[in-house]
């Protein structure tokens, strides 16, 4: 019976156990959530056995501990214990007798709490449970793949409350519980992964739509909201200099900061190597930072201080990279690191960032093209160097942060290079050095130039590197604070025309090429323009020179007239020209004394120097001395400067003293001394100056009479009258009137623009019959006037001033004569001038305004024979 009872009991037990196992087995297969398991477990067990609560704890291999995993959330009595939260998060060492006993045992082990809880190494939760009324605990190992993975602890408040039956059931369900727990763990992992995946998918969709910085900010914010709505973030982008990072998109999350500080930080460039950003950029994994600790470590980055004041504690830094290129970093105000998630986020942000940057680049390209167009427009207007400098300055410096250094052009010899344009404001204090360097002429074989000329699209020199390699220019370059020097060839077609040097941090290829082409054109234009100007100038100078020559060079052929009288003059001139002899040119006014003087000078060995002319009549008496001999500063009132006299000026040349007869007596004395000594002394000066001057003097006065009258010094007269040349008055060289007339007609036809084809013979007749008191000058002016008055291209009339002639003739002939004598003399003179023509046009009768017959009878009556007027 007893046996039967026991059998019965054990059958019951198995039945019960089977029931529980079956029910639990069914339940457990459905368990996906961790709390479900504990609820189900309790429901099944509690119906059959009395337990107060249970807990599943998992082993953590990495530090040989076990931690609470599944809690009885509904009615665990220890929930009210003050140490409950501490217990939930605690790690309990595996390395102590209590739990070791469980691990060693093959089946569930029960402990009386009172016995074990105060053992030195026992876990604290035993006492906590005891304090809320638990008396015993049954610990069952949960195994996985033959190794313990955790425990299920069930507590009871009844001493000895764990029956054999219960122990057996616990032992029996342990494998199912293990697999249920494993499932839960796996399930949680899968759920987490799925959540991450869907999160990343959403984020990916958001990011795919991002085209601008603003959209990126919004997309990241949305993603952050799902992770932690409170947290802030900042995306920093690597700047073009590749040494700094600047905030690109940011969000403080729930926190607020000082707007001023934020805007300063936003615009700051933080060096990559600040001890923090470099760590993020170099780390393939996200890094968790503690702000306080970084500050303590001496990281000086200004944003850390700001974050600290704003209230951030920890942040995660992740690098953003596209392929192998670092784009920037993402700093998240977040405590935990989920590597997969972060790497997913960062990959997406990197793509977005790269897209935005590509977009920006396209925008920049367009800007560049527009800019080049503008530049092209500016350049086409360039005509001078100044224009070019202006265009380059406005365009490069103001819009592109590029400094223009210089343009060198290849000289016409194809070998040397001269500076064409350089920016002397560029180097500040080092300007003088630069000026010196820039001004030196180099050759195309100069090391940097030759490299640049040989290159396809120019070269970039890193200033820092060049400085190290000892480039002489590098020091100057360094002074600008810019990173690179761009040396570019200027080409017209395939021909190198020079080099241009620019300083910048970065320039795009497109711009460089474009600028070079434009500047080449501009430079070529300027060169052409300059050449044109210089040719023009040269021609002008040549023209002036030629004009001057025309004016100043007189060989004898320039003097018109080949009559006998003039031949005599020429002969004298050619005799005297070669020597240094003083010449005195005498002649009535208008006979061409200056012309003769110039001709003498021009035929002399001194002809290469300018003949100096002084008109003695044109100068006030008190100034003539200073004019001739010069004066020292302050020699007299008004002598503000030292002045070189004409004598000094005419050193090694000729001095032409015109109207010498008008020279005041005091000046004559001085002149005499100079002529004698051949040295001058400036007024107010103490020093005598040797001069070698050939004197040519001229006057229309009768100097002998002047000497007699005491108006001219005799000694000077003799000094001057070494070699007198007397010029015949025009009336004595009637045979020259025709060539002179022709000469002047030609001359004035040119200057007045009237084409005089022919001079009527009557005109010559008229001209010859005039007495020409003004000599050649009068003839010249008469012809000029006549040409102006002529209308039909034929000079057929001249306007000889009659009245004047008659007055003069009267004056000349009316002294102490009888009327008959006077008449006879007058008619002979007239006939002479009219070449014996008695009547008709240009005849004596015409001048006398009497009929020809009357004149004939008068000639007979007065006994005038042909020999009288043809002598």
């Amino acid at each position: 019976m007893k046996n039967a009872g026991t059998l019965q009991q054990s059958v019951e037990l198995y039945k019960k156990e089977k029931q529980v196992l079956l029910a639990l087995g069914n339940d457990l297969t459905g368990v996906r959530d961790k709390n479900d398991l504990m609820i189900l477990f309790k429901q099944r067990i509690k119906g059959l056995f009395h337990i107060t609560h249970s807990i599943v704890m998992m082993i953590d291999n990495k530090d040989a501990t076990y931690v609470p995993f599944l809690l009885d959330n509904d009615d665990s009595p220890i929930k009210s214990h003050k140490q409950y939260q501490e217990m939930v998060h605690a790690h309990f060492a595996l390395n102590e007798p209590f739990i070791q006993a469980v691990l060693q045992a093959g089946e569930p082990v029960s402990f009386v709490l009172e016995e074990v809880m105060d053992l030195p190494q026992s876990p604290a939760f035993l006492r906590v449970n005891f304090e809320v009324g638990a008396k015993e605990v049954l610990v069952t190992k949960l195994m996985k793949e033959g190794r313990p993975m955790g425990f299920i602890q069930t507590y009871t408040d009844i001493p000895g409350g764990f029956s054999e039956e219960f122990r057996s059931i616990m032992h029996g369900i342990a494998p199912q519980l293990s697999s249920a727990v494993s499932n839960i763990i796996k399930n949680e992992e899968i759920l987490k992964k799925e959540k991450e995946k869907s999160f990343l998918l959403d984020f990916s969709c958001d990011i795919a739509a991002v085209r601008t910085k603003k959209e990126l900010g919004l997309a990241v914010r949305r993603a952050m909201n799902k992770l932690n709505p409170q947290s802030g973030y900042v995306i920093r982008r690597i700047n073009e200099d590749n040494t700094t990072l600047t905030a690109y998109v940011f969000d403080l999350g729930a926190r607020t900061g000082d707007q001023k500080v934020i805007s300063v930080l936003l615009n700051s460039k933080f060096p990559i190597n600040d001890g923090l950003q470099d760590r993020v950029l170099n780390s393939p994994i996200p890094l968790l930072f503690n702000i306080e600790r970084e500050i303590q470590r001496g990281i000086k980055a200004p944003y850390l201080q700001h974050w600290k004041t704003v209230g951030f504690k920890n942040f995660v830094g992740i690098r953003l990279r596209n392929g192998e290129t670092n784009l920037g970093i993402l700093l998240l105000d977040i405590e935990e690191i989920n590597i997969q998630l972060f790497q997913g986020i960062c990959a997406q942000i990197s793509i977005a960032l790269a897209n935005i940057m590509a977009n920006e680049q396209i925008g920049r390209k367009q800007d560049e093209q527009a800019f080049l167009l503008q530049f092209s427009n500016d350049i086409t207007r360039v005509r001078t160097k100044m224009d070019l400098q202006e265009a380059i300055a406005t365009v490069l410096e103001s819009t592109m942060h590029t400094q223009f250094a210089m343009i060198r052009l290849i000289d016409e010899d194809g070998f040397h290079m001269s500076p064409f344009l350089y920016n002397d404001r560029l180097f500040g204090k080092a300007t003088a050095d630069f000026g010196k360097m820039a001004a030196t002429r180099i050759t195309i074989e100069e090391i940097y130039t030759s490299k640049v000329l040989a290159s396809e699209d120019g070269l970039v020199f890193n200033i820092e590197e060049e400085l190290n390699s000892g480039n002489a220019y590098a020091k100057l370059w360094k002074a600008t604070g810019l990173k690179n020097v761009y040396g570019l060839p200027l080409r017209m077609g395939n021909k190198n025309i020079g080099t241009i040097w620019l300083l910048a941090n970065r320039l795009s290829q497109l711009l460089l090429k474009g600028i070079c082409a434009q500047i080449s054109v501009a430079v070529a234009n300027i060169q052409a323009n300059e050449k044109l100007l210089s040719y023009k100038k040269q021609l002008e100078v040549e023209n002036d020179y030629l004009k001057e020559q025309i004016k100043t060079i007189y060989d004898f052929s320039e003097i018109v007239g080949s009559g006998e009288e003039m031949q005599k003059v020429y002969r004298l001139m050619s005799l005297v020209a070669d020597s240094n002899t003083t010449v005195l040119v005498l002649g009535e006014t208008g006979t061409g004394k200056e012309l003769i003087a110039r001709a003498i000078h021009g035929a002399s060995p001194r002809k290469d120097k300018l003949m100096v002319k002084v008109n003695c009549a044109a100068l006030p008496a008190n100034l003539i001395e200073s004019e001739l001999f010069g004066h020292e500063r302050g020699a007299f009132t008004g002598a503000l400067d030292r002045r070189i006299g004409k004598f000094e000026l005419a050193n090694n040349s000729s001095l032409f003293l015109d109207e010498i007869g008008e020279l005041p007596l005091e000046a004559q004395a001085k002149l005499l001394r100079v002529i004698q000594e051949r040295e001058v002394e400036r007024l107010g000066g103490t020093q005598t100056i040797k001069v070698d001057v050939r004197l040519i003097a001229a006057t229309n006065r009768h100097l002998e009479e002047e000497v007699k009258a005491g108006r001219f010094r005799a000694d000077l007269y003799f000094r001057l009258n070494v070699f007198p040349i007397a010029l015949p008055p025009l009336r004595d060289r009637a045979e020259d009137i025709e060539p002179l007339t022709q000469f002047f007609v030609q001359k004035y036809s040119r200057t007045t623009g009237r084409n005089i084809r022919k001079v009527a013979p009557k005109v010559f007749q008229q001209l010859r019959s005039y007495t020409w008191p003004g000599n050649v000058r009068e003839l010249e002016h008469l012809i000029e006037r006549s040409i102006l008055l002529s209308t039909d291209g034929i000079l057929d009339d001249v306007f000889i001033p009659r009245q004047n002639v008659e007055d003069k003739l009267e004056n000349a002939f009316s002294i102490n004569r009888s009327l008959a004598e006077l008449e006879r003399e007058y008619i002979i003179q007239l006939l002479k001038r009219c070449v014996g023509k008695v009547s008709g046009a240009g005849s004596a009768a015409e001048i006398l305004q009497i009929p020809g017959n009357t004149l004939h009878s008068k000639i007979k009556k007065l006994g005038i024979s042909k020999s009288d007027y043809f002598s």
Binding site: N61, P286, L288
Partner: protein, 251 residues
């Protein structure tokens, strides 16, 4: 004190973890199996929280030239990065005696690269260069076996027992950072083929050891003294016989 042992489940790692846990330290045995991966960075930041000492005993899963260099550099960077952020006070790494003079061998180059990363990191450090472990002998014999003969070099060899290594590592880790390199070695010096021969004799292995007189180690040519400490080294207490007897007991 919280100590993280990278490669905590390896030959030396398990021993070091055991030793340190015995002394009551909170030791994290880090390996990909415990969710801490120095290559991917998984779990690294969490593991480093509040950590005072990091002992790096990790070994590359591949010995191929590029892979091994990548392993030690990437793992080194990640680990040191996480350590700097966590404010770790002592980083201890196990390296190899003679690594600096055997730079023709890719593995040694990688080890030196790892050492350089540590020196530059700014984290207080101790680098322990150890000779080969006595536990390697069987492997050395196997890779040199040709038929019934084992062809081995006559380079000098001073193997150390893994237990000695573990206790040195644990002691140095708990001590002040040396900020330099220390060398450890076994108590006895042999020619390589001699000790292998002795081992085979002890295990009753029929293979015959032949000295080929070539100075080489794992295929790379080395100097005869490359594998032994050149200067002063700390010597272990377990000699071959003692070690062998402890081995056979376990078998």
């Amino acid at each position: 004190m919280k100590i993280v042992v990278i490669g905590g489940s390896g030959l030396i790692g398990t021993k070091v973890v055991g030793l340190l846990r015995q002394q009551g330290h909170n030791v994290i045995a880090a390996s990909p199996a415990t969710g801490i991966n120095t290559i991917t960075g998984e779990g690294l930041a969490e593991a480093m929280k509040e950590t005072a000492i990091v002992i790096d005993l990790a070994n590359s899963p591949s010995f191929e030239e590029k892979a091994v260099m990548e392993f030690f550099q990437t793992a080194g960077r990640n680990l040191l990065g996480a350590e700097i952020n966590a404010g770790v006070k002592h980083h201890l790494a196990l390296s190899i005696v003679g690594a600096d003079i055997m730079q023709n061998i890719p593995y040694m180059r990688a080890k030196i690269a790892q050492e350089e990363l540590i020196k530059k990191s700014g984290v207080p450090y101790t680098i322990i260069r150890s000779t080969q472990f006595l536990e390697f002998i069987a492997g050395i014999a196997n890779q040199a076996t040709d038929g019934n003969e084992v062809h081995l070099s006559d380079v000098q060899f001073q193997p150390i027992a893994a237990d000695d290594v573990a206790s040195f590592v644990a002691n140095y880790a708990l001590g002040t950072p040396v900020n330099g390199t220390v060398e450890i070695a076994g108590p006895e010096r042999f020619k390589m083929y001699e000790i292998v021969e002795r081992y085979l004799q002890h295990t009753g292995d029929p293979r015959k050891v032949v000295s080929n007189g070539k100075p080489e180690y794992f295929g790379g040519e080395i100097t005869h003294a490359a594998l032994v400490p050149a200067g002063k080294a700390t010597l272990g207490s377990i000699d071959f016989e003692k070690w062998f007897s402890s081995q056979t007991q376990k078998v």
